[in-house]
């Protein structure tokens, strides 16, 4: 091959005039394929030097005086500009704006030339438009011109017309239908090149309709004698059967006969056609299995053993492309078919052992061959051969080869994981490679290789590497390590140890759900709580910049602070350490005041401080001081917490200890199943990846928040029944508490990510009761609403009063009513208020019944009251008639109306509704419109 090029160089020795950088100049010292270094031409250093002095976006390489003078002498904007001059003018542009201006003028000229129906230039116009299209400018106005050119008689016109058609149009354009007739004529043309053009265009852009219309022509052309037409017809058929799979059977017997050809182009196209036939039709693949296997094996044998064939030779191998195609078709045929697999075993072994692996082309074939061996029911000997080839690839110095080896090993793992395990150390080395693509592949592979026996050493390796890895890679690496740790931890201590390590090395990259899981695990391991809080404390001293480490530490100090100070449950392996109460408070204080701490962390600090004030009575004075400093915080959330906690410390000493008791053990199984459930939901929805994280974290926090929901009821009970405090303060206190709750719900509305976490913290205050209520499919906010049916963010303020009223009058706590969804104020204007309440049958989650209540807020009565609603397509709506169309003034009467909605995408999309209300006030028509977006979640 190299020879061929050198020879051609000598014969066409015309490279003197222009200083040019030949593309084939040996450029890379580490050329991925050493065999591709061809003859030396221009020196590399020169081209580099010139490029370094170049202003970005402007090209001077190879520009000569001649070019300049041409650009200046010609007026580039006359309609008769030659293509060459236009390109020169564009190249001469120094800025993007200049380029746009040139292109705009050129386009204007082309447009007017087109509208004048200038036949002489249309050829040139399309050529220009192609260039303009390549630069990324709109060229739709040239589409019709392409069609005209295609319809013209001359070959050059047709040539450029078809090229324009393929570049400027695609199958979605309606203009395309107009070309069907020209295509049909050209397919029947006597000139083979014109037929070739038409086939090529059809193969590149045909739509389903065109495929149906022109399939018979293509079928006929498959049987012609000219190989050039045959090969294109074969590839055209691929497009046709992809567009219209029903037509596949028509093509299966001509496809079979293509495999008997000698011409490589026809063979390669025929093999590809057969591959596609196999994909679309089971019948075709059976037919091919029966009739073609033998022929394919013979083709492969022929090209393997053929003597030097200069035309198809690449690095000493005859037509590697055909090799690869045939191997791929054999894989299709042998997949899941023992007889065929046995039949092709020999030839595969021959290819695998005879192909030279010192050239890229040879490696490409070996790679394909390995893939085929893995894909069919190969003998074990053959598989060993294949895995060995991969092993050889893996130790290759060339990064490309290593990349494909890793890729392949990933597939091989399902076939023979033992054999892949043997290469574990090499793969682990690849994780540390300098090339991001290789690292990523290797990491995925390592992840697949982890099993119970090697989890510990592998995790250790990965964590060690985490310390020194690139910043960019840390995210991927961390998430993999975390899931390995979660998946393969057999003992809790190991799990906690590893997580603490990861958190302190790359805490900023750890996903929320991972550290949530850690907290759940710690709370479930009573004998390790002391150990955990101590090791977290130690880790915190060393790396206090890692957000998630800080958060877990704060939580643990809040919960298990006394274990830290009193050295409770010291394990034998631990080094003794002394931490005083004030040390623990120091940690929290430093976190709270650190400049980079976010609000979530600060809120967690406040909670932890409140808890410590009861755990460490001597420090409570200091805690109170710290909390007091935040009473004036500009962040509403912190201010509110500080004020509330301050009043708890000051005024409610008697209940404080029970308020800040340790969290109930978080239910691990619920948490895990929630997590699994959320991932399943994600699988089913197949949402884009951006949407997933928020969904996952929301669902995740359910698991945590849920058990906390019912204790609040207990808490309310407690405050009403047991406390000996005077009623006035009891109300106050209740108010405080509800405020706490309401803050949560509103903050979760605003910033759901942090809000839910806070919710988890706050709701868990003082809950000595073990909760085992697990409401079905509730979100955290909904769970909360179970107890406080009023806690919808936007109506919160109004309804606190309602609640307190209710409490005062009948003393029953609101949990008893527990409607599934809180009612909402759907619409409110100065004249009209609409409230919705919801009922749902438990067995039909999609169906919701809404009872709407309309209230007139103005002083005049409404007549002819009509309510209309519109919903998105995925929702079905059924309106029942209203009970009246007359609405008395000043809220003295109500209209109610019931409607049923069915959310066909329940759980994926929230409800939304547009409403329109028409009514008459003293015979004048009024119209009000609005949109309702505040439906409670879960409808």
């Amino acid at each position: 091959m190299a020879d061929g090029v050198v020879r051609s160089k000598k014969t066409q020795n015309k490279t003197v005039a222009r200083p040019r950088t030949a593309l084939l100049t040996p450029f890379l010292s580490s050329n991925p394929c050493p065999d591709l270094d061809l003859c030396p031409r221009f020196s590399l250093s020169e081209s580099r030097r010139s490029s370094s002095s170049r202003v970005a976006g402007v090209e001077d390489e190879g520009r000569t005086l001649e070019d300049f003078s041409a650009a200046l002498a010609m007026n580039p904007f006359s309609s008769g500009t030659r293509l060459r001059d236009m390109i020169k003018a564009i190249r001469a542009c120094k800025t993007a704006a200049e380029e746009r201006a040139v292109v705009r003028k050129e386009c204007a000229a082309i447009r007017s030339s087109i509208s004048e129906n200038d036949q002489d230039y249309s050829h040139r116009n399309i050529a220009k438009l192609m260039f303009i299209h390549m630069l990324g400018y709109p060229t739709h106005f040239g589409q019709m011109e392409c069609l005209k050119l295609i319809a013209s008689a001359g070959f050059p016109e047709k040539r450029i017309g078809y090229l324009g058609l393929m570049l400027l149009l695609d199958e979605r354009q309606e203009v395309l239908m107009l070309v069907t007739n020209s295509l049909k004529q050209d397919l029947g043309h006597t000139n083979q090149y014109i037929v070739g053009l038409a086939l090529c265009a059809l193969g590149n852009i045909c739509s389903a309709e065109m495929a149906r219309d022109l399939a018979p022509e293509v079928e006929r052309l498959l049987l012609t004698r000219d190989p050039n037409i045959k090969k294109k017809a074969a590839l055209c058929s691929i497009r046709i059967i992809r567009k219209v799979p029903d037509l596949a059977e028509n093509f299966s017997s001509p496809a079979t006969s293509l495999l008997k050809e000698k011409h490589h182009g026809v063979l390669i196209a025929g093999v590809q056609l057969c591959t596609d036939l196999c994909k679309v039709s089971e019948d075709a693949s059976n037919h091919l299995r029966k009739n073609c296997t033998e022929g394919l094996v013979r083709i492969l044998k022929d090209i393997c053993n053929s003597p030097y064939a200069p035309e198809y030779d690449i690095a000493g191998i005859t037509d590697p492309f055909l090799h690869i195609r045939v191997l791929r078709l054999l894989r299709m045929l042998g997949h899941g078919d023992a007889d065929t697999s046995e039949y092709i075993n020999d030839i595969l072994a021959q290819v695998a052992s005879k192909t030279e692996s010192n050239k890229n082309a040879g490696n490409a074939i070996l790679y394909e061959c390995v893939e085929t061996i893995m894909g069919i029911e190969a003998t074990s000997g053959l598989r060993v051969l294949a895995i060995n080839i991969l092993g050889r690839f893996l130790s290759n110095r060339d990064n490309n080869i290593r990349y494909v080896a890793l890729n392949m090993l990933m597939k091989a793992i399902s076939v023979d994981s033992q054999a892949v395990q043997r290469h574990r150390t090499t793969i682990l080395e690849c994780v540390k490679d300098s090339d991001a693509s290789i690292r990523k592949r290797a990491l995925e592979l390592v992840f697949l290789l982890v099993n119970d026996t090697n989890a510990k050493p592998l995790t250790k390796e990965l964590i060690d590497y985490l310390e020194v890895s690139d910043q960019d890679f840390k995210g991927d690496l961390t998430s993999k390590i975390c899931s390995i740790i979660e998946k393969f931890s057999q003992e809790k201590k190991w799990y906690i140890d590893q997580m603490v390590k990861v958190l302190s090395l790359a805490g900023n990259y750890v996903k929320d759900n991972v550290w949530h899981a850690l907290i759940v695990a710690i709370s479930n391991a009573p004998d390790l709580q002391g150990y955990s809080v101590r090791s977290l404390y130690k880790a915190f001293q060393l790396s206090s910049e890692q957000v998630s480490l800080v958060q877990v530490t704060i939580w643990c100090i809040g919960e298990y602070g006394e274990m830290l100070v009193n050295n409770v449950g010291v394990l034998q392996v631990e080094e003794p350490m002394t931490v005083t109460e004030s040390d623990a408070v120091d940690v929290l204080e430093s976190c709270l005041t650190h400049h980079s701490t976010d609000i979530t962390t600060q809120s967690m600090c406040l909670i932890a401080l409140l808890k410590l004030s009861s755990r460490f009575p001597p420090s409570s004075g200091r805690v109170k001081e710290i909390i007091t400093t935040h009473i004036g915080s500009v962040v509403l959330e912190l201010q509110q917490r500080a004020i509330e906690f301050n009043s708890i410390i000051q005024r409610h000493q008697n209940i404080k200890s029970s308020l800040v008791e340790r969290m109930p053990v978080l239910d691990e199984s619920t948490f895990i199943s929630k997590r699994a459930g959320s991932s399943q939901a994600n699988i089913s929805t197949e949402k884009s990846n951006q949407q997933l994280p928020s969904g996952a974290s929301l669902k995740l926090s359910n698991g945590v928040a849920k058990p906390a929901a019912s204790p609040l009821v207990d808490l309310l009970d407690l405050s009403l029944d047991d406390t000996p405090v005077p009623t006035s303060t009891s109300n106050d206190f209740l108010h405080d508490l509800l405020d706490v709750g309401l803050t949560n719900s509103s903050s979760s509305g605003v910033a759901s990510a942090s809000g839910t976490d806070i919710l988890m913290d706050l709701l868990s205050i003082g809950t000595p009761v073990q909760s085992n209520t697990t409401p079905e499919n509730g979100s955290s906010i909904k769970g909360f609403n179970d107890i406080l049916p009023i806690a919808k963010p936007n109506t919160a303020t109004v309804q606190v009063v309602d609640l307190l009223d209710g409490l005062a009058s009948n003393g029953s706590h609101p949990g008893a009513q527990s409607p599934v969804h809180p009612s909402i104020t759907a619409y409110q204007s100065s004249t009209l208020k609409i409230t919705f309440s919801f009922t749902k049958q438990p067995d039909k989650p999609q169906v919701t019944q809404i009872h709407a209540t309309f209230m007139n807020l103005s002083s005049e009565a409404y007549t002819d009251f009509i309510f209309q609603a519109a919903v998105p397509k995925f929702i079905q709506l059924h309106l029942d008639p209203a009970n009246s169309n007359h609405l008395p003034a000043s809220g003295n009467g109500r209209i109610t109306q019931t409607f049923t909605i069915t959310n066909t995408q329940h759980g994926q999309k929230p409800l939304a509704m547009r409403i329109r209300i028409a009514y008459k006030v003293s015979n004048q028509e009024r119209l009000e419109q609005g949109q309702i977006n505040n439906f409670p979640p879960g409808l």
Binding site: L23, E59, R159, M374, N407, S414, K480
Partner: protein
């Protein structure tokens, strides 16, 4: 073969040839895609491997002097991506796709992948073909004879599949046309 696009870009990131196969992109999408790919590939060093994953493509690229040849092919993991779930979070999607992959316990589609090495070889064949025609081909040849470069590509690739691998067969119609004109 599943070639989705062939892109020639110079060192400054200017497109010099672009051909898409069965790919429906609007002009803006196309510009954005090209920009992203070029940024990603041109930033890589020569020691790094020639394969980059981007969106649902795998890009096989190779540099010849001042020109980058980028070929976008179907990413074989594309199918698995659709199952991605579990701990999905932006960058970790790769990982979850692998979980799904293992969970499915099967090679998803025996031919839904491409041979990257063969694509590299294809790029080289394309360059050699142009070299044979233009003689010491350089960026300017491709710029000023864009249509010829397209003709060659058209003879080599049709609808994303390789049609012809013999240089003289590829060049025959073009030379005929030159003779005629």
């Amino acid at each position: 073969m599943g070639i989705r696009f062939v892109l020639l870009v110079n060192k400054q990131g200017q497109t010099r040839l672009a051909q898409y196969y069965a790919e429906h992109l609007t002009l803006d999408e196309r510009r954005a895609l090209e920009g992203e790919i070029v940024r990603k590939c041109l930033a890589r060093t020569e020691q790094q491997c020639s394969f980059v994953e981007h969106r649902n493509y795998k890009i096989v690229y190779r540099r010849y002097a001042s020109l980058f040849f980028l070929v976008g092919v179907d990413n074989d993991e594309q199918m698995e991506y659709t199952y991605c779930g579990s701990f999905t979070h932006g960058r970790s999607k790769q990982f979850s796709s692998v979980i799904a992959y293992v969970a499915m316990g099967a090679v998803v589609d025996v031919i839904a992948y491409v041979n990257e090495l063969a694509i590299l070889e294809f790029i080289h064949l394309f360059v050699e073909t142009m070299d044979r025609h233009f003689g010491n081909v350089c960026e300017l040849d491709i710029m000023f004879h864009l249509e010829k470069a397209h003709f060659m590509l058209e003879e080599m690739v049709m609808n994303g599949c390789i049609v012809e691998t013999s240089k003289s067969n590829i060049l025959a119609p073009i030379q005929l046309m030159e003779k005629a004109s």
